[in-house]
């Protein structure tokens, strides 16, 4: 019975992988051993059949695209400038919005604080509403005598309190109610600036898109 080592030797001999000495020794063994000769014939037959197996042509091309390998097209230098301007304009826009929203609220607190002495700014509007509510709900009722001085003390009360007070026969001075500093101040950043920033952001983003698409087209 032939062992694995002999089988390997025969296979290597078939492929011309043995040294001349090894080959000569093996040839003498093959000549003396019919089993080895038969095994060599089997190995040769298998190898020859495999070698004659027709080579198939690839059914399609396997060339790679940039997308397949995750490559991005080289972008022009101007791209980074527009990238920066888009980001900068967006940031500024957010900042101006935040500033315009926050500043009136901060300024709005000022007159209330002076009008109500040590009263907290946050509570002032709520108290004004509470004061105005009874007058609005019951205009026919007589306003108590103490209400008039109280209303005078309200520098930011809404203007419709005055006619209501007049209807109820009370004399109410309208001057403190219509003080100009009681209105919220205008936004510090003009809307036109914000529009400009918005336009810069949009234009930069559009140019970035065009540059990227152009780079992709030329790259293909």
């Amino acid at each position: 019975m032939m062992n694995t080592r002999d089988l390997e030797l025969l296979s290597s001999y078939l492929d011309g992988q043995l040294t001349p000495t090894e080959s000569a020794r093996l040839e003498s063994r093959i000549a003396a051993d019919p089993e080895m000769e038969s095994a060599l014939a089997d190995l040769r037959a298998a190898r020859n059949i495999l070698r004659k197996l027709p080579q198939r042509k690839a059914p399609r091309n396997f060339t790679l695209t940039r997308k397949m390998v995750g490559q991005n097209p080289p972008l022009p230098r101007a791209y980074s400038f527009f990238q920066f301007s888009t980001a900068f304009a967006s940031l500024l826009l957010v900042f101006t919005f935040a500033l315009n929203v926050l500043t009136p609220r901060l300024n709005y607190v000022g007159p209330i604080n002076t009008g109500w002495g040590g009263m907290g700014g946050g509570a002032a509007p709520q108290m004004m509403e509470e004061a105005a509510a009874p007058a609005a709900e019951a205009p026919a009722l007589e306003m108590p005598a103490a209400a008039a001085p109280e209303m005078e003390a309200l520098p930011t009360a809404s203007a419709d309190i005055a006619p209501m007070a007049k209807e109820s026969g009370q004399e109410v001075e309208s001057a403190p109610l219509t003080q100009p500093e009681a209105n919220p101040p205008a936004a510090p950043i003009p809307v036109s600036w914000q529009a400009l920033l918005l336009a810069v952001g949009f234009i930069s983003a559009a140019v970035m898109f065009v540059l990227r698409e152009q780079a992709k087209r030329t790259w293909r």
Binding site: T4, L7, E8, L10, S11, S12, D15, Q17, A39, A41, D42, L43, R44, A45, A46, R47, N48, I49, L50, R51, K52, L53, P54, Q55, R56, K57, A58, P59, R60, N61, F62, T63, L64, R66, M68, V69, Q71
Partner: protein, 201 residues
């Protein structure tokens, strides 16, 4: 084709150079994948995956036989595909007819340059050999495909399969013997020229 120059430029990320190499080796890669996997669709997937993987890792190629290095990625892709195949059902190489029988000669295997008799003979040989190859363990199959079907030398096969030379010799010898045993069952199907090969030198 200056293979070394193409490899160097491909290593710098030049896809066109790499695609020139792909066009040169795609038939071989596809045939290796087809013989290891025994299925054309799977072989196409494995070949494409192998080329993508090869491009991504071409910087790691440090000289030697590029063919062997490339066939290693193909062999690895095939082994990955075989592992996936085990986890999901596959379609047979031979498509079924409307009656559910296997078609004798699949349309996609037909070669327009052959006569019907030649085509039939070629199909018989191919089916018989593929059947016997499929019966081999995957590691034996890849060695015999690279050495005997693709004609690579032992060192190239060792590089392609990342297996020591001694193991290659052993696997090749055993694979050939097992193939011969298997093909005996198809001897009546094989043309006379193939049947008598064993007796010739």
């Amino acid at each position: 084709m200056d293979e070394t120059a193409l490899i160097q430029t491909a290593q710098r990320g030049d896809l066109d150079s790499f695609n020139t190499l792909v066009l040169h080796y795609q038939d071989m890669a596809f045939n290796v994948a087809l013989r290891i996997l025994g299925d054309e669709d799977l072989a196409q997937d494995a070949t494409q995956d192998a080329f993508i993987s090869a491009f991504k890792s071409i910087a790691s190629f440090r000289g030697g036989s590029f063919k062997a290095w490339l066939m290693r990625t193909v062999t690895n892709a095939c082994l990955d595909e075989l592992r996936r195949k085990k986890r999901r059902p596959t379609t047979p190489l031979e498509p079924d007819t409307e009656d559910g029988d296997e078609m004798e000669s699949p349309r996609w295997l037909a070669d327009p340059n052959m006569t019907p008799e030649q085509q039939s003979e070629a199909d018989e040989i191919e089916h018989a050999i593929q059947h016997c190859l499929d019966d081999l363990p995957a590691e034996f199959r890849s060695v015999v495909v690279l050495a005997d079907i693709q004609g690579m030398d032992y060192n190239e096969v060792a590089t392609a399969t990342k297996v020591p030379l001694g193991t290659i010799k052993s696997r090749l010898a055993r694979a050939r013997l097992r193939l011969r045993e298997c093909l005996r069952g198809f001897e009546e199907l094989l043309p006379a020229a193939f049947r008598l090969e064993g007796e010739r030198r």
